[in-house]
Symmetry: C2
Subunit: 333 residues, 2 copies
């Protein structure tokens, strides 16, 4: 990975400056129901319901004005598409989002509501379709994670964590393509050197853990990664994000599908937060894998809230059967 | 009301200073799904799930240390009890909460989890029971709204709104006992004189609107006010809160029970927020009574999120049947 240049703290700070007044400055929320020293960073409160707005907006902000005006294109299973659509609308430029035809219908509808043209294709054709549209219509492709500006934008989450809890000892971040983890690790390790930053990944899509252990990309077939309910974490690392994670991440733990769903329900009933499964993965690490983690003051990044109405209804119904007892309040204690 | 002294902006500022690092500095969240210029102030994100922590903590902070150390007592149908329990635990002092035996079980359990001794009595006996406990055990009673320190604490919500959206034109606040509305109106009218502050109240518990129109307290019988699903808004104004509202509130609109429940569902499905019915009342005013309100940039205070698991399950199930369409996204448009 000798040729890959990593972003630095200054890049994250520039991104944060671009994002002022655009992304919500999310607070840290103490989660004492989790029985320990846990804070949640609720990126589900962003306008599109996920952190992705940060990277997408910063990437568009960095384009030369004449290039940006021609428009942008993205491919996404959901939140990144909404993020690019939202950013394009902010700048008043055209936007096309290529989505897999298996994407959650509520995410497709939400992307259209933001003014984007949505093109549905088979999952395997997303990248080629996007490239064809970009070339044919002179649009700039905005990647979901494999770009220094996108990583710098996501890193603003880490800046805010360090500012709000300078004594933080552990930051847990979900890992899909690795953009959020790369950015957060960059900011947190620079500002709070003794803090640990640990990724959390679904066990059935643990390509990042394997790649990190091998020191090189070890992609998993999509038939495997698509088994996880955490639909935002089915993607693979890129050379760029792997290089950031090798240099700056302190490790990765994995969680089961059952743990992800239980954590999604815990966040709904205990923290009163609507979180999608991908957004609950870092909290699942704290709640159910604490014995694999360093102790101390912990922040879990809640990356998004775009849960399907059907799953929300199912988890809400399960909560009705929960006893409102002390035991229930401390699933991992 | 000649003898009633109103709190001022300085009182609210002192409260805000006491609350730094205790109450969450909640952001404003743009709610463009509502089809207009609406921002939500999500006080459901506070540690106890409601704004009440602000007033309770400031009231305890203002007690002389030797008085505070003997302990505090409160009576409450829910959120105020949790707020006093939380504040008492922060200061390490004993706490008794007298609750009506009809209170939601999840609120009773939550109050106990915060370390308070809970005493359940018939609704009509709450005040006398509290007075007896206060006298017998030398505890200081912390009222839910009828106290200048409590009003000043709640007013910090208004300070934050004025700081985050100085061009705000309308602030909507739910009205029960009137402490939140009194405090918010005090701060907002002082800092943004041309902004309007309007209360929102359940039509079946509209004692505040009637009292404001009459210029004197017009309490409604509890048999009437207990009909509303907004269980935090069943209480009556006091002379102190009425005096603040007469001087500083620009009006009150009322919403139906159906509108309150629909708004609670809208917040769950469109804003991805878990809100209790009382917490959705101000948003219901915007969504369903916009023709009765001044136009312009509006903030609705979402006062709390402690919804019962049964109602959450019901609203979540209803959302599954909603179309993910543009029309659905703009209930008031």
């Amino acid at each position: 990975m000798g040729g890959v240049e990593l972003i630095g703290l200054d890049d994250v700070r520039s991104a944060a400056a671009n994002l002022a007044g655009v992304a919500v400055r999310t607070p840290l929320l103490a989660a004492e129901w989790a029985g320990g020293e846990l804070w949640l960073k609720p990126e589900n409160l962003q306008p599109i319901g996920a952190f992705k707005l940060r990277g997408a907006h910063h990437a568009l902000a960095r384009l030369p004005a004449d290039v940006r005006e021609r428009g942008v294109v993205a491919h996404s299973s959901g939140n990144h598409g909404q993020a690019v659509a939202y950013a394009a609308r902010t700048f008043g430029v055209p936007c096309v989002v290529v989505m897999p035809d298996v994407a959650e219908p509520h995410k497709v509808a939400a992307t259209r509501r933001l003014g984007a043209e949505v093109v549905l294709v088979a999952p395997a054709e997303r990248a080629t379709t996007m490239a064809a549209i970009a070339a044919g219509r002179q649009l700039t492709a905005i990647p979901p994670f494999d770009h220094p500006d996108v990583i710098a934008g996501q890193g603003s989450v880490g800046l805010e964590i360090a500012a709000d809890l300078p004594e933080v000892e552990l930051v847990l971040v979900p890992v899909g393509g690795g953009g959020l983890a790369s950015g957060v690790a960059t900011a947190v390790k620079a500002l709070v050197p003794k803090a640990r930053v640990v990724g959390v990944e679904p066990a059935v899509a643990a390509d990042a853990r394997e790649s990190l252990a091998a020191g090189r990309l070890r992609p998993w077939p999509v038939e495997q990664t698509y088994r996880t309910v955490a639909d935002g974490l089915r993607t693979q690392l890129s050379e760029l994000t792997l290089a950031h994670l090798v240099a700056r991440l302190d490790g990765i733990v994995t969680v089961t599908e059952d743990e992800i769903l239980r954590a999604t329900g815990d966040l709904l009933h205990q923290a009163r937060m609507v979180v999608e499964p991908s957004g609950a993965v870092a909290a699942a690490g704290y709640l159910y894998r604490r014995d694999e983690l360093p102790p101390g003051k912990t922040v879990a990044v809640i990356s998004g809230g775009n849960i399907s109405p059907a799953l929300l209804a199912r988890l809400a119904a399960e909560g009705e059967a929960r006893p409102a007892s002390e035991g229930d309040a401390r699933p991992g204690g």
